[in-house]
Symmetry: C2
Subunit: 460 residues, 2 copies
């Protein structure tokens, strides 16, 4: 038995209780009133890194929410690994659908319910503990390590594309390992070979100078809600295909081999629908459900509002209407270019009688691809094969981790994923949870990965 | 000089201060949490009627907000007039656009700013004061009087179509005079010959069993916001004509003479747009702006909501979307039938992949018409001609006073209007106000009208 296994076993109770403390910090990056909580989470992470034996720990200002840096650089002639995760979380609305308060972690058997439990606090805490276990039990680490933990992932890491190039040397490494990731199932591992990118805009429609009486003026002027509905309806056809000019121009169509690799990953559409509580899928014709989620771009309205939302009725003709839209992007779509196409579409399709404006939302992440035969993915695969007793599936994700694109752009750094989230854990939704079993398995996996990466001179 | 003029002059200061007290009651009928305030307003009105010398005053339960009744029935062989108004008010949102708190009436020169100042508390208080002045100064009234003041006008008087037939005898009269009405301008009078009706529904779209991550499932299932947008967009063409099957079938097209009468009423489109802060009108082709407001039906979205409405971004694929819709109706559209057409349209046009349901909102008022040569309108015209020195314009309103249709259906009672609101007074909007000059002129007009109606044996 390796020493790190003993260390993990002897300290697990303390680690578990520390996770619950971490989850109590309401570090919602999207809401300005929670900025101090994001800062507090950064301080918690920095303290915890120091306790694990990490050196040069620093909370670095970015212009937005901070980044926590730390390193251990005493493994001569060994590669340098940058470990990534995020300590910010999603907003909690609709709050009334939570069974327990989102920032009072509630344990129920194997499950820990809390906002951020799986995305990403539980998963990002795992490598810190693994590093502590290896360092304290072996006396040193088999690789050089750097940490980049951020507090703005849930708003699209808006500052990092400026921040990281400014600190290129500090963050330079051979390979990034992202702890913002998942398992295929509790018993099946995966490696991540592709992520979708993201970008978004807000649309604001303005009519008269104040809200009006729907009887007095109704029928004589453009209703901003009608204008918004008409505009939004120009963005898809009835089958769900996006009708923004040029939107698909840069999309790489996959080869038959690549589509076959996707088809080999188990997927039960019936279970998928049952989990969602739906009777049918819906989406762009010509692609499977998995392909729609993994290799096809989307344009989703995330929010819409205007006029009266209370009980009963208010016969108002409102003077404002709003919508938030994000697009998931695939290789080789460029977020900045897609935002321009969206804005051009809004300009070209704005109904008359109102003023329509757009704001770029702080989210631009490039789509990302790391082949399965990349040395980093090979190392991760070796660890997972040993731990689960089977070859990991090569998956993609419909989600976005903007940082992967930024690491590549700013630091020429490829990213592989090693995380332990599972699909049913309600990320971005009420009653988010994480599993103790994932938390514990993850610590072992990271210990094994550190040792496995130490066996090679270079991984990039 | 008539005695009532002296009485008004001597008591005006008191009346003015009473109006401010009335405006302090936040009697918002649409919001359940304000039900007790609507009740308090009813008690205020009942007390005030008693002080004016009205008999048999009673707060009558309706199943919803109450009705205040009172009478004075000692004018033998004279007609019985039912005076109508409402003491409930609209909600106040968006609150941040009010310069002063909506229920702390603020006087600025001739203006009294408060929610309900002109719609309808200021206007409904006027006939009470006129009756007091005539009764106290002349010792008796020239006509028999009944009062019907309600607390549910702003939610479409949902209970009254059941309540009034139950109390047919109590409310029977020869003519109703509605104080929920306006002047053409400060120097020009009008009589009201037509009102639009109203009905409405709420549309609720339901998708998955919880909010979802727009990356994980985006592109694979129907987004309820997309479905709602698509559905709502089927209800109008691009020019603003309503495309709900059968919607226009019962609409009476006006004769050339009737359209000419409308064209004779002064209307300055430039001033209209300037007041609204808009550059262009918008609406059904083939009709003038005034015709679109007065004699054409509408379908307006009054509110829409779903998903994330906060600052920044939340990459959610929400599982609910909602909209509130009301229609303004013209002769001979039937509110219940139009609601059925709306529901059928929703059923026929619901996108697949979501569940769409509708709720009938508590608003159904028939469109209404009282010819200019009706004896009631002739009496009102006589009073206005004397007071303003010109023939009143024959106008219609795009708004709805559901009670007029209910009075006709339940009591076979025609309604004429005598009120003193003006178009710029921000009804249903922030910074609603009323004018002291209207309040004082109105009291004179009602004193004159009581005496004028006393000169005739029958007005119906």
């Amino acid at each position: 038995m390796s020493d790190w296994k003993d260390y993990l076993a002897q300290n697990q109770e303390r680690f578990d209780s520390e996770l619950l403390n971490f989850l109590r910090i309401p570090s919602i990056s999207a809401l300005p009133e929670h900025a101090k909580d994001v800062q507090q989470a950064a301080e918690w992470v920095a303290d915890r890194l120091r306790k694990a034996g990490i050196e040069n720990v620093e909370i670095m200002p970015t212009g937005g929410h901070p980044v926590v840096y730390g390193d251990w650089l005493h493994a001569e002639d060994k590669p340098t690994i940058l470990i990534y995760g995020h300590f910010d979380v999603q907003p909690v609305d609709p709050l009334h659908l939570w069974t327990n308060p989102p920032f009072e972690p509630t344990v129920d058997g194997d499950r820990i319910y809390a906002r951020g439990a799986t995305d990403d606090k539980g998963n990002m805490f795992v490598p810190i503990l693994a590093v502590e276990a290896v360092l304290k039990s072996q006396g040193s680490l088999p690789v050089n390590l750097k940490f980049c933990f951020e507090g703005q992932e849930e708003i699209g890491s808006p500052e990092l594309s400026v921040f990281l190039p400014k600190h290129k040397e500090r963050f330079s490494a051979d390979l990034a390992v992202s702890a913002d990731a998942g398992q295929f199932s509790e018993t099946e591992p995966e490696i991540m070979v592709g992520l979708r990118g993201i970008c978004g805009i807000q649309i604001d429609v303005k009519g008269a100078k104040s809200d009006l009486h729907s009887g007095m003026v109704g029928g004589t002027i453009q209703n901003p809600l009608h204008a918004l509905v008409q505009l939004l309806n120009t963005m898809h056809d009835q089958h769900g295909r996006i009708t923004v000019d040029g939107f698909y121009d840069e999309v790489v169509e996959l080869s038959d081999e690549e589509r076959a690799a996707i088809a080999r990953v188990p997927f039960d559409e019936e279970v998928y629908l049952d989990d969602l509580g739906l009777e049918q899928t819906f989406g762009e014709p010509g692609y499977t459900t998995r392909e729609r989620a993994w290799i096809r771009p989307t344009l989703e309205i995330n929010g819409i509002w205007g006029g009266f939302q209370g009980d009963g009725i208010k016969t108002v003709l409102p003077n404002e209407a709003h919508a938030k839209i994000t697009c998931r992007l695939v290789p080789n779509q460029n977020p900045a270019h897609i935002v321009e196409l969206l804005q051009a579409h809004v300009r070209a399709n704005s109904p008359r009688g109102v003023t329509v404006s757009t704001t770029v939302l702080g989210t631009r992440g490039k789509p990302y691809l790391v082949p399965a035969d990349h040395p980093g993915n090979i190392a991760v695969s070796d660890v997972l094969r040993k731990l689960y007793g089977m070859e990991p599936y090569q998956v993609r994700s419909g989600g976005s981790v903007p940082i992967t694109g930024i690491f590549m752009d700013a630091l020429n750094l490829p990213t592989v994923a090693l995380g332990f989230g599972l699909n049913d854990e309600n990320i971005h939704a009420p009653n988010e949870f994480y599993r103790w079993s994932s938390f514990h398995k993850g610590q072992q996996a990271y210990c094994e990965l550190l040792n496995r990466l130490g066996e090679t001179e270079g991984v990039a």
